[in-house]
């Protein structure tokens, strides 16, 4: 192998791994964060604080309350007090108010209605709460013993228990890997420029491409070292399946890490000092994370914003990773998205190289 490149790799590795805190940043924090987010995050609607305000002896309402608390989705909330106030202070997420005389009597006479007040600030959660309470009411209400005319048999594919972690972890993996590679790369060149060592490097008898490859390859290797770590943890701790072939996983991770290192290098060619490199990293990462499909589904973006998702390496990695790990499908869609990721990487790499060359000249 080219001795200059070996020298570069050795120098960058030494610089990156010399500091114990850096070793923690590269190898420990990614795993800790993935574990943390995998365990903590859940987009299920749980722990709904429900306050049931009904006169004593209202069978229907007390049955409903028992069914709600027994279902595991609800928590009890104070049953006294102004309903609006309860919602405003967040002591309750929903308040169920029986009509005067109680809901049991209202049902038997066929007049009067119970009212369900829901905190609507989170629309998604509000809709789910409304749905839960309706289903529960139908279950406890004796009126509905007769079978409904249409019954759905529901089967859920790929993630039968609908565990959040299984869906989220392959995505969070992309966020963490992208964050680490951008952070490592974007500041390294800016640092050399700020310290003045870039001048020395340019004056040294090495070719321009050797500088470019030498400054980027070590970070590709460091980023790739995190991949087996993250995948292993995802399998062991969260039981995320890896249904597709491992080579597909490697292809995806390889293309992604190379692209992100190229993006980081490009950012650093624009930065005059480390502070600007850091802000530039944020300016790229924040939108890229929002548009990655982890925070909100890509299909929901307005039409004019979708092209931006197509220029987002994290979005491709997350989508491909989910295809490989959860669906186990390596089909036309896989190759299409993978080629797009590669093309994106190539364009950014050439751009970065051209800018580096021009800056150096």
């Amino acid at each position: 192998m080219n001795p200059t490149l070996v020298g570069f790799i050795r120098k960058e590795f030494r610089q990156a791994l010399r500091d114990k805190r850096m070793r923690v940043v590269i190898f420990v924090i990614p795993v800790v964060q993935m574990t943390l987010f995998g365990l903590a995050l859940s987009n299920e609607v749980k722990n709904i604080r429900l306050s049931v305000q009904a006169p004593p002896g209202d069978r229907l309402m007390s049955d409903l309350r028992d069914a709600a608390l027994g279902s595991g989705w609800f928590l009890p909330a104070p049953t006294e007090g102004d309903p609006v106030r309860l919602l405003e202070t967040g002591q309750a997420d929903a308040v169920l108010i029986a009509p005067g005389g109680g809901a049991t009597r209202a049902r038997d006479r066929g007049e009067g209605r119970a009212q369900l007040l829901i905190d609507g600030t989170n629309a998604l959660r509000a809709r789910a709460i409304d749905n839960y309470v309706h289903v529960l009411l139908r279950r406890v209400s004796a009126e509905d013993v007769r079978a409904p005319p249409v019954i759905f048999d529901v089967r859920t594919l790929y993630n039968p228990t609908m565990a959040t972690a299984v869906y989220l972890v392959p995505g969070v993996m992309g966020l963490i890997l992208g964050l680490i590679t951008i952070l490592l790369t974007s500041m390294s060149l800016a640092r050399e420029r700020e310290m003045g060592t870039l001048e020395t490097l340019l004056a040294a008898p090495v070719a321009r491409w050797e500088i470019f490859v030498g400054k980027t390859l070590p970070f590709v290797l460091l980023g790739l070292a995190d991949v087996p770590l993250l995948v292993g943890f995802a399998r062991v701790v969260f039981g995320v399946p890896v249904r597709g072939p491992l080579w597909a996983l490697a292809l995806n991770a390889g293309a992604f890490v190379v692209t992100m290192v190229a993006v980081g290098t490009l950012i650093s060619t624009f930065a005059k000092n480390q502070q600007q490199a850091m802000m530039g990293g944020f300016l790229f990462l924040f939108p890229a994370i929002q548009l990655s499909g982890v925070m909100a589904p890509v299909e929901n973006f307005p039409l004019w914003a979708k092209p931006m998702a197509w220029l987002n390496p994290i979005q491709y990695f997350v989508s491909l990773n989910r295809q490989i790990m959860l669906r186990g499908a390596v089909g036309p869609l896989f190759w299409m998205e993978w080629s797009a990721l590669c093309a994106l990487g190539a364009v950014v790499a050439f751009w970065a190289a051209a800018r580096l060359n021009r800056n150096a000249a």
């Binding site: 987009n43 009212q115 509000a126």
Partner: protein
Amino acid sequence: MSVFSLPRALSIARKEVRHVRRDPFTLAMAVGVPVLLVVFFGYVLDFDVRDIRLAVVDRDRTPASRALADAFTASGHFRPHGPPDVPAARLLEEGRVKAALFIEPGFGADVDRAVPARAQIVIDGADNQTAGVIAGYLDGVATVAARRLGADPPGDLLRTRFLFNNELNSRWFVVTGLFVVVMGVLSILMTALTVAREWETGSMELLLATPVRPLEMILGKLAPYLGLCLAGTGLIYAAARVLFHVPFRGGLLFFVASTVLFLCCTLAQGLLISVLTRQQQLAMQFSNLTGLLPVLLLSGFTFPVESMPAFFRVLTWFLPARHYMELCRGIILKGAGPLALARPVLWLAALAAGLITLASVKFKRDLEP
């Protein structure tokens, strides 16, 4: 010598203001970028699930089965999708549809005999959130279908009212959340490098030779950035009101006060990182790692804090953005007052005091090695 002298803190602040004035990039990052990010993503992000692509496999081919398929479209949540010659299983596997409806022969006959008729729904569960929403819609679809098939649906005993957001507009929720997240991350980044840079360039030696005390140093460095971030907040506030018509139901003074508390927390967090690492590269990595993802994912922006396991809910108490998120949504969307929101305010105050003290103490240790 006193522990704190206002003139000395002000001189540090004045020095810091000069730094910022000379660097238009920082100015733009603090004031211009936040409002751009909030506006842009306020339009882009949408957590509602609609237009769910549904493959319909009707092997019954009776009026009843067609009525059932129509009920899905009529509900407004589903859109039939997929060429009829491709097997539904393949469409699901490739992610081209999110769910498939299978109606087997005999469905129409069951409806005619008035016995419960069964149909199968297969949902792509890889995305568990969408899957959950789809499963939730089925109840409503069954009611619509029953009505179309001539059965009388059970009467509704319950009437629902959504408070604070009658039309369940998720945009307000997104915009207030974005505001917290953007300011939260940016303010950490703002101060993260300021002390580390002085160590790297050597100007810290000069500052240490002056009579300035740690607390003066920390507060003096914090104040100018607080001003900058407040200006950024003002712009976002205007944009949220004008462009997104976010209602502002609470007290303005209360909102400003809690914003100051929050920014003190995050700016002090950045300073603490800077004091501890003394090196710009490390400072940036730590601030991004402790700032970006935790603020985005654990603050309650999209993933509700209420749904976290108890241990992690306790952990989020130490995240300033989580309390400010509660405050912002409480003040802006619900119009709640200081009494209703006393807990998050007290937490923010405690965290701000704690972080500023910690940064000063750590700074002092460096002075006397």
